[in-house]
């Protein structure tokens, strides 16, 4: 086992090789995504695909792990920061950053073993999940919100694992068609964001990813959903979604994978898009 990973040998005798062979894409490398990428680098994931079209701004500096004042001055690409952070931890990690919207690099994204979604729109997360389902890629979704209720604020969030063949974000009630519809008509604008819930949720997501690829303890079923209460400072598993009694997904047909026939045919003509 690599010297740098000796302290995590409890993950299994081949865990370092398993993690080194893994390709994880983090879509959205802002608040939560920057934490995820940092931790994936620490834990030894060998191939990272950070995807984000944005550049660092001053208003990101309250939460963007690894971003500096100088990055904001320069308008540095967020994915450049991702690569810098990852390689400063582990020079051997193979980071292929893409400073583009994820739908412009779908050919790359199809090769991911796991996708971690750190987007800030319901629509984006819903479409990314549908993409992951179609190409049999486990999808970890991180969501966090700050709402005003009366005269105070409520911080909440969750980490959800959308597994092919299992319940989806809609089944879990995390993203509904109403959410997407309201968002389509809603006002654009910055949403409140702070660093510590991002870190907590990102850590939970990385833990769930590790459980998926190096099952270091026996559990009756894969944990799919953890809910965060930022006011009580708790992160709790959803008892129903994490049990063997959960329902089958009503939204994704298990056999509906890969490209529908016409898209396979047209992709040959376009080569890889």
């Amino acid at each position: 086992m690599k010297q740098t990973l000796i302290r995590q040998s409890f993950l299994g005798p081949n865990s370092d090789a398993i993690l080194d062979a893994l390709t994880v894409s983090v879509v959205g490398t802002g608040g939560a995504g920057s934490h995820v990428l940092q931790q994936l680098s620490h834990v030894g994931v060998g191939n990272l695909l950070p995807i984000d079209p944005d550049k660092v701004e001053f208003l990101n500096l309250n939460r963007l792990v690894g971003a500096t004042f100088r990055d904001a001055q320069k308008g540095q690409k967020k994915t450049t920061v991702s690569k810098r952070v990852a390689n400063s931890i582990n020079p051997d990690v193979r980071v292929r950053p893409h400073s583009k919207p994820w739908h412009e690099v779908m050919d790359v994204l199809r090769d991911a073993d796991v996708i971690v979604g750190c987007l800030d729109t319901y629509s984006g997360r819903s479409q990314l999940e549908a993409f992951a389902r179609r190409y049999l890629i486990p999808y970890l979704d991180i969501g966090m919100d700050v709402h005003s209720v009366g005269d105070h604020y409520v911080v909440s969030g969750q980490v959800a694992l959308s597994m092919p063949g299992d319940v989806c974000l809609q089944c879990m009630g995390i993203i509904t068609p109403d959410d997407v519809a309201k968002e389509a008509y809603g006002a654009a604008g910055g949403r409140p964001q702070v660093v510590w819930p991002n870190g907590l949720l990102a850590s939970a997501a990385v833990g769930m990813l590790i459980e998926l690829v190096t099952p270091w303890f026996r559990s009756e079923s894969l944990s799919l959903l953890r809910r965060y209460d930022g006011n009580r400072q708790t992160l709790e598993p959803d008892g129903w979604m994490n049990s063997n009694l959960r329902r089958e997904c009503k939204h994704y047909i298990v056999a509906e994978v890969g490209d529908p026939h016409p898209f396979w045919i047209s992709s040959k003509k376009k080569r890889v898009s």
Partner: protein, 165 residues
């Protein structure tokens, strides 16, 4: 260009369960994995979509081999490829542990019936898989190619994500 096959844990479990059943006269069972595909930056990914079991009557009684499909079985598989426009992979198992290998008879017979699938559905890859209890190997005829290629990677997606080469 890399060839990958991805399948859910539930589907491969269904395949193994079917292939594990005893047959009245064939020494082993076979079936068909119906797939879908996509192109990625690294190459082609084939996805297991569903499994078609071969009924008991679908075998020739031939004790010189483990299992021999009759013409009706092959025609039924060809019909699926033709009407649904999908990749088809013949599947059987050698049981045991470790990475399985195709036998000489497997290789000879694979080439014959895969050719039939290609004839009715040339736009897609077709091929054959052989399983062990813990792993799998595969050969794939890509569109336009007369010789098979080894499937480079298998990924099983389920309670544990497993990749094997």
């Amino acid at each position: 260009m890399k060839l990958t096959l991805k399948i859910t844990e539930a589907l491969i479990r269904e395949v193994r369960k079917d292939l594990d059943r005893a047959h009245p006269y064939a020494a082993e069972r076979v079936g068909f994995l119906i797939g879908r595909c996509t192109r990625s930056r690294s190459g082609i990914i084939i996805f297991g979509s569903r499994y078609e079991s071969v009924p008991d009557a679908g075998y020739v009684e031939d004790h010189s081999v483990g299992a021999m499909m009759n013409q009706r079985t092959i025609t039924a598989a060809m019909q699926i490829a033709y009407s649904e426009k999908v990749p088809i992979f013949h599947v059987h198992t050698h049981f045991g542990k470790d990475k399985p290998k195709f036998s000489g008879i497997d290789l000879r017979e694979n080439a014959k019936f895969v050719r039939a699938f290609i004839n009715v559905c040339p736009e897609y890859p077709h091929g054959a898989l052989v399983l062990s209890d813990t792993d799998m190997s595969g050969l794939c005829w890509l569109p336009g190619s007369s010789k098979p290629r080894r499937i480079d990677q298998f990924t099983v997606v389920g309670s544990c994500l497993r990749k094997t080469l």
